[in-house]
């Protein structure tokens, strides 16, 4: 039988563990059977099943029925996957807008069309990554972050934990700061070619 964990090359954080025998969905069972962590969610990021899985794990977590690693606990403690109303439309919270919706968020920075909230590498420096975001006044600004001389070591659980503590990642909510993006860089790991999915 194929173990999905064996097929994915990245270093993976440990998976979820049920404290008691509770009825779970086929999708969650798939993750449990393969020791796949929630932050390695097998579904397409921000798809319906992606959010449903997070919501299911969140309920089990607050019911003290599942043990999660630090990364997964941070995920379910956030508002990710919860719904809110914005401009009369139901939207998912804490989910940076990407893909098609991202296209709608194209904006101008210094006269040039740019995509918002999508970090990209900046080999020319002075920082490792940059991202365009809108600030409170509605202007598009470029936020640069990451030391170009250092590697992203979020695949090392000890280094990741130390980074999160050192940078107080749980307090980083402002998208116009380098700290927010440094702490959440793993959300864009595939686009940026970063190995680990740990949020530092």
């Amino acid at each position: 039988m194929i173990k999905l964990a064996d097929l994915i090359e990245d270093n993976k954080p440990c998976g979820m563990y049920l404290f008691e025998n509770v009825l779970v969905s086929e999708n969650l069972k798939f993750h449990l059977d393969r020791n796949t962590a929630l932050c390695e969610n097998i579904f397409r990021t921000y798809s319906e099943s992606y959010f449903e899985l997070i919501e299911e794990v969140r309920k089990l977590y607050y019911g003290n029925k599942i043990e999660l690693n630090d990364c997964d606990a941070e995920l379910v403690e956030s508002d990710l996957g919860k719904k809110g109303i914005h401009d009369g439309r139901e939207v998912y919270l804490d989910a940076p807008i990407e893909e098609e919706e991202d296209l709608l968020m194209e904006s101008k920075h210094r006269g040039r069309e740019v995509r918002l909230n999508r970090p990209f590498r900046t080999p020319g420096g002075p920082k490792k990554f940059s991202v365009y975001v809108k600030n409170k006044t509605g202007n598009v600004i470029k936020v640069s972050f990451g030391d170009p001389n250092l590697r992203v070591r979020s695949n090392n659980p000890k280094a990741a934990k130390s980074f999160r503590a050192r940078h107080k990642c749980h307090t980083k909510k402002d998208k116009t700061t380098a700290g927010y993006w440094s702490c959440n860089i793993s959300r864009y790991r595939k686009k940026l070619g970063i190995k680990s999915s740990s949020p530092w």
Binding site: I2, L7, R44, S49
Partner: protein, 89 residues
């Protein structure tokens, strides 16, 4: 445009696409196509195919995978190369 994680040739409106076992897992991205596609793999493989909002499934030899337009999907790397025939309609 980014480099594609496969090589392909076209014969009589059938695309023969080869994914090398050297491709990195993260290069196999979720995507959708504009046209309806029928995909067949004619060899044994343990590569997986995943449709949006579904769990991954093993790609069975000679089984037909239908991919409607605008529906996200991806392949998940297994051992060895993966060669598939693709017909668009």
């Amino acid at each position: 445009m980014s480099k594609r994680p496969f090589k392909q040739t076209k014969e009589d409106n059938i695309i023969i696409r080869k994914f090398s076992n050297k491709v990195k897992g993260h290069e196999l991205k979720w995507h959708y196509d504009l046209k309806h596609r029928i995909v067949i793999c004619e060899h044994e493989t343990n590569w997986l195919f995943q449709m949006d909002n579904e769990l991954p499934k093993k790609i069975e030899k000679n089984s037909i995978i239908e991919i409607p337009p605008y529906v996200y999907h991806r392949v998940i790397k297994g051992d060895g190369d993966l060669i598939v025939s693709i017909k668009e309609s």
